[in-house]
């Protein structure tokens, strides 16, 4: 199996149909065009001798070309977060070299002297030809690595999660081939380096559904593009939906009658946001999707029917369903286990484990985290109710998920502790209307310092998303007898006194 097969099928069935359109440039490519481009670039990749194909750019038409060409050529596709600092990107590139890189003109310029990288920007990638006119066929080995995604871990360097062709093929096969009507279009705003961005490409191609790419998210423009392109479905992270709802302030209806479906995931959705969204989009079906990079995206779904029932109900148990991430998708099993690995009964909180063909749970240099029975520990905490609905408590390992971006508390604590007035620091996520979770810090100081000065200090050393929105001064941070920081105690302080 190989993800390139899906593109071949779409080109065979709906060759003339528009496959991708870049809303920013207005350019588009058909399924047949995409197939031809992927074929041509697979030979370029093959001749380059690169071990990986890295992509460091916003959404555009070269993204699906690079993804399928990599699968065709039999080398992993590695989309990297373009928002990272140059040093961070350099460190990641060093882990996938010798690499073929598609990026922006500025970075290409900076890397001209590197002999271990072949660097292109969008336009030169489009124009580059292979030396040979031969076209090798792709490997059908299910174990071939299709995608490598860098996840942010709790401690130190990001982990390189591996997705083999069999994982992504299994995920995509949940969908029905060629099931989209000619006028259907999916608006994709999640960045290319997010697993949801990759899943959207694969499932859209398999369903022969047009994708409208929107490189940057801004609520008014999102609404404008959705209207102009006749978008019928879309995936958003909670922060996006929150901002869309805010921008519709004072209106009774979003006036997007073509928009049949909005799915959301990637973080905790505030209840008032989803309630308001359902009012503003009365004809749109809402689905909550929960998944991880390591599970090839979605593993549970809360469907439109449950959304409607929960919203209309006065029964507290049914209402609460709106905060659930739903039931496992076909082929996926969920279990809740305690610290000792024992299965827990319903309604008891523990760590979420998942099993299924789409679950990879494997990292480069670390190996597989899947146990001998096929179960993968998600490091997310939660519980399952009597009807099998999964509820999330948050990340078992305390990673702060701010607007879909995973932030490591340890890194922020390290920076705070470097400040001359700070003795110790504890960083936690606090509930946020806008971001799902926001960064909060409790600090022990050795000399008096202002909140603003500490925020400035973090801003000077890290990206702005890491700057604590709230900082409290504590006489002593809470540790247990083995010296482990009691984050839960710190977290509670920000919930109780916001």
């Amino acid at each position: 199996m190989n993800i390139a097969l899906f593109l071949e099928m779409a080109a065979e069935a709906r060759g003339d149909r528009v496959a991708f359109k870049d809303a920013l440039t207005g350019e588009s490519i058909s399924f047949a065009g995409l197939y031809k481009a992927a074929q041509a670039k697979s030979q370029v990749l093959h001749e380059s001798g690169a071990s990986h194909c890295a992509l460091i750019d916003t959404s555009n038409l070269t993204i699906p070309v690079a993804l399928f060409a990599s699968g065709w050529a039999g080398i992993p596709y590695v989309p990297i977060n373009y928002r990272l600092t140059s040093d961070e990107i350099d460190a990641l590139i060093d882990r996938v070299k010798p690499a073929f890189v598609v990026t922006d003109a500025e970075r290409r310029e900076a890397w001209t002297d590197r002999s271990d990288l072949i660097v292109h920007e969008r336009q030169s990638f489009r124009e580059v030809h292979a030396k040979s006119e031969d076209v090798a066929h792709w490997s059908m080995d299910p174990e071939g690595v299709a995608v490598v995604l860098f996840t942010s871990g709790t401690t130190g360097a990001p982990k390189a999660a591996i997705m083999r062709h069999r994982h992504l093929v299994s995920y995509t096969l949940m969908m029905e081939f060629d099931s989209a009507d000619e006028d259907e279009a999916a608006l994709v705003t999640v960045p290319p380096y997010h697993i949801a961005g990759i899943a959207a490409i694969l499932t859209s191609v398999y369903q022969c559904r047009r994708v409208v790419q929107l490189a940057t998210f801004e609520p008014d423009n999102w609404l404008k593009v959705a209207r102009e392109e006749g978008v019928t479905s879309t995936f958003v992270v909670p922060t996006m939906l929150s901002r869309i709802v805010d921008s519709l302030e004072g209106q009774r209806n979003a006036d997007l009658p073509n928009l049949q479906a909005i799915s959301y995931g990637g973080g905790k959705m505030p209840l008032n946001v989803i309630r308001r969204a359902m009012e503003l989009f009365p004809d749109t079906e809402f689905t909550n999707a929960y998944g991880l990079t390591e599970t090839s995206s979605t593993i549970t779904l809360l469907g439109p029917e449950e959304h409607r029932t929960a919203l209309a109900s006065i029964d507290p148990t049914t209402q609460k369903r709106l905060t659930s991430v739903g039931l496992p998708v076909p082929g996926v099993e969920i279990a809740i286990r305690d610290d000792e690995g024992r299965n827990l009964p319903t309604n008891v909180h523990g760590e979420i484990f998942v099993r299924g063909e789409q679950v990879s749970g494997e990292y480069e240099g670390i190996g597989s985290r899947v146990d001998e029975d096929g179960w993968f520990p998600t490091r997310d905490a939660g519980y399952v109710d009597d009807d099998g609905y999964l509820f999330l408590d948050g990340r078992a390992d305390d990673v702060i998920v701010r607007g879909g971006e995973n932030l490591s508390p340890g890194e922020i604590e390290d920076v705070l502790r470097e400040h001359e007035c700070v003795h110790d620091a504890a960083v936690v996520g606090m509930p946020s209307q806008e971001w799902g979770e926001a960064v909060a810090a409790a600090v022990e100081v050795s000399r008096e310092v202002s909140v603003e000065a500490l925020q400035m200090w973090v801003r000077e050393h890290m990206r702005s998303s890491r700057v604590p929105e709230k900082i409290q001064f504590w006489d002593e941070l809470p540790y247990n007898e083995t010296g482990k920081l009691l984050r839960r105690v710190v977290k509670a302080a920000f919930v109780d006194s916001p």
Partner: protein, 101 residues
């Protein structure tokens, strides 16, 4: 007779049909299309579709046996129909999922 491996792509010897193996039982079985065994290269011999196995295949449809341990995805359509050990495979009914992306 041959064993089938997951992910393997096979071609009909007598029509345009091509399939990918999604899952298959262990051991040998005779997979035919149009009444003739399928192979990884198709075939150069100029056979014809057996009228008893001429219901055709549809791209994107999944074909299963009665035991439920064999599942094939049609990746190219053709005139022959798929059969294992002489018994025609059936199209698997799909479950409709909400749109998720």
């Amino acid at each position: 007779m041959a064993s089938l491996a997951t992910g393997q792509r096979l071609k009909s010897a007598v029509c345009n049909t091509e399939i990918m193996v999604i899952s298959a039982p262990d051991g040998d079985l005779e997979l035919t299309c149009g009444g003739v065994p399928m192979g990884s290269d198709g075939s150069s011999e100029s056979g014809t579709v057996d009228p008893n196995y001429a219901n055709g295949t549809t791209i994107g449809k999944r074909y299963v046996n009665d035991d439920g341990d064999l599942e094939l995805l049609c990746v190219k359509p053709g005139d022959g129909s798929l059969a294992v050990n002489g018994t025609e495979l059936k199209i698997k009914e799909s479950k409709k999922l909400p749109k998720t992306d």
